[in-house]
Symmetry: C3
Subunit: 266 residues, 3 copies
Amino acid sequence: MTLIERACETLTTIRDSSPLVHNMTNVVVANTTANALLALGASPAMVDAPLEAPQLASVAGALVINLGTITPAQAEAMKLACEAAQQADVPWILDPVAVGPLTYRSNLARELLAFKPAVIRGNASEIMALAGLGTGGKGVDSTDSSETALDSAKSLAKETGAAVAVSGPTDYITDGTRTVTVKNGHDMMPAVTGLGCTATALIGAALAATKDPVEAAAFGLLYLGVAGEVAAKGAAGPASLQTDIINQLYHLNTKLIRERGNMGEL
Amino acid sequence: MTLIERACETLTTIRDSSPLVHNMTNVVVANTTANALLALGASPAMVDAPLEAPQLASVAGALVINLGTITPAQAEAMKLACEAAQQADVPWILDPVAVGPLTYRSNLARELLAFKPAVIRGNASEIMALAGLGTGGKGVDSTDSSETALDSAKSLAKETGAAVAVSGPTDYITDGTRTVTVKNGHDMMPAVTGLGCTATALIGAALAATKDPVEAAAFGLLYLGVAGEVAAKGAAGPASLQTDIINQLYHLNTKLIRERGNMGEL
Amino acid sequence: MTLIERACETLTTIRDSSPLVHNMTNVVVANTTANALLALGASPAMVDAPLEAPQLASVAGALVINLGTITPAQAEAMKLACEAAQQADVPWILDPVAVGPLTYRSNLARELLAFKPAVIRGNASEIMALAGLGTGGKGVDSTDSSETALDSAKSLAKETGAAVAVSGPTDYITDGTRTVTVKNGHDMMPAVTGLGCTATALIGAALAATKDPVEAAAFGLLYLGVAGEVAAKGAAGPASLQTDIINQLYHLNTKLIRERGNMGEL
């Protein structure tokens, strides 16, 4: 079965099983993330309290950890939830937003790696910083290209055992040995806040439906890229694009994935 | 005067008096809730700090308590705000999001009942769990039908003195004796995150305009259902539906309510 | 060079330099604020943790402080960030949301003034309350007209050294001596939640691009007003207006500013 066919199969599994995806994410994207997951077919829940996050994480299909607007209370809850996920064999994904220039979250991200994420997804600057090979970007925005970060991604994958995904015009997903590329999307997408966070959440849904972390990461990026391409055709601007990407995730189907999906292996 | 006519009258009161609705809600729906309340004609304010939530609650037209993304600090502030509302005779409404599977918020919800909410609105699984007759749904999503929860709703209403509303394709609103049904809405609405939370907030606005909790709950659900039906006609997907429901709440009028409103009594 | 030409020049500078704008804001507008800043050409980052907010503030182009949904942890972080901004000569702007009726945030706002904001932007009731000459509005909504608040604005500007902007159908921006007016916008805009917060954030972007606080405040309000006018022409309601204002900020250009900009000096 080709990669594209497995991406189709995973979408069907998500739609059929509606996996519970536990999100501990930032306040900027909470609404769009929940709507994107619902549109794809998953059942999102946002739960951040230290006293209940581990309880939900241990029964979820996947756990999404996004450091975007981290607070001390949320950071404490994240550690407990990641530990609970690891103990319950629930796969989890780390989005190291703005790691690099900000010391507190950089240390937190390194600390969370001990709980063995299945996937790490970031932009080039974040992945390079987390791998110890860069100083990070400007705030939440990358100042490096995804190509530049591939070596860092491979190194980080080998160190952590996670599949590492670097988003950009070409997305690279690697476990240190195998590397998959996704070349979907549209150049207006970086003008929408937090689409990287959306990608991370969709990867969470895919992780709940397939046990291969490299493929789950590639499929999540593929779903978003295909939806983004279709949405961008008629978008009057980035806010309309944000809205229509969610509409297109709702309408996404195997026919569209086969027609537009642009995945390969290096 | 018929129920429909009283729903029209309450809408007019909201538009004329623009009641201050104090929301302590979740980060997923904060924006859509505020916009929905503004569109209906109310004056929303989101205030969560322990040192100021009780001050606002005591002068508001109604207080909305939504447990969606509860944190320890917000939980503490909620208790103080509910107590202040009760002392000032400000009606308040509880939305027990995801009560059942999550112990911490289940205990919090039971604790808040001591402050005598005027209305409790949830999905079937949440109401059954809060009544002690179910184990809850999958995360924030119901795994039971609204019909199934009617007995639990009546039992919870009798125990607490609140009007209890169960959302679903048919909404049931009961004080344990009288039961009102609302059959408006559209089947794409569950694909939009947090429309139940929107319903709860609109009920808050209605509570500030009419003192009958059963009717306030029915009218809030009716306003959302009618707006949702009109919006769904042209919606390109769930994100467009989310946007257009707010537009249609802005355009909602007594003519539309009379034409489309589908309320009855059991 | 006229004011309008300087507004054009500042927009071009924002687009060319993409300044990092650090936002400590409320959960209602976090998404729309980030998208509005991206659409204008800035690089927004939302960072609220006490251990990292000062680090980001000290390297940002501008810092935006918005008290909308203040929590104790965020308040502590704001003090540290404002102090860091002041020490690093990073200009910052205060949005005193709902100051007046709420004691806690009123005290916090007064306390933050010690760190010398470059700009304070609020509605009439907020500015009058912060100046000590009013009791504030109804929750987050003004109960006074912007004209009424002009004397308070001048007094507050002289007391604090900040440029003070009062939003309304006519916006007034003053340093106590010079007063600029902006008469753009549309009367559906108050039906969208948090457009005042958007204005404040856009002023932050302008502050990073021009060192004149009165002009930065006027230009931010101008950009929003022009985008709002264009967006309102086709808007099906307030939620569509919210979306299309961001689209129009993305398409905003010097030609539109010259055609529609309505700025003057009193």
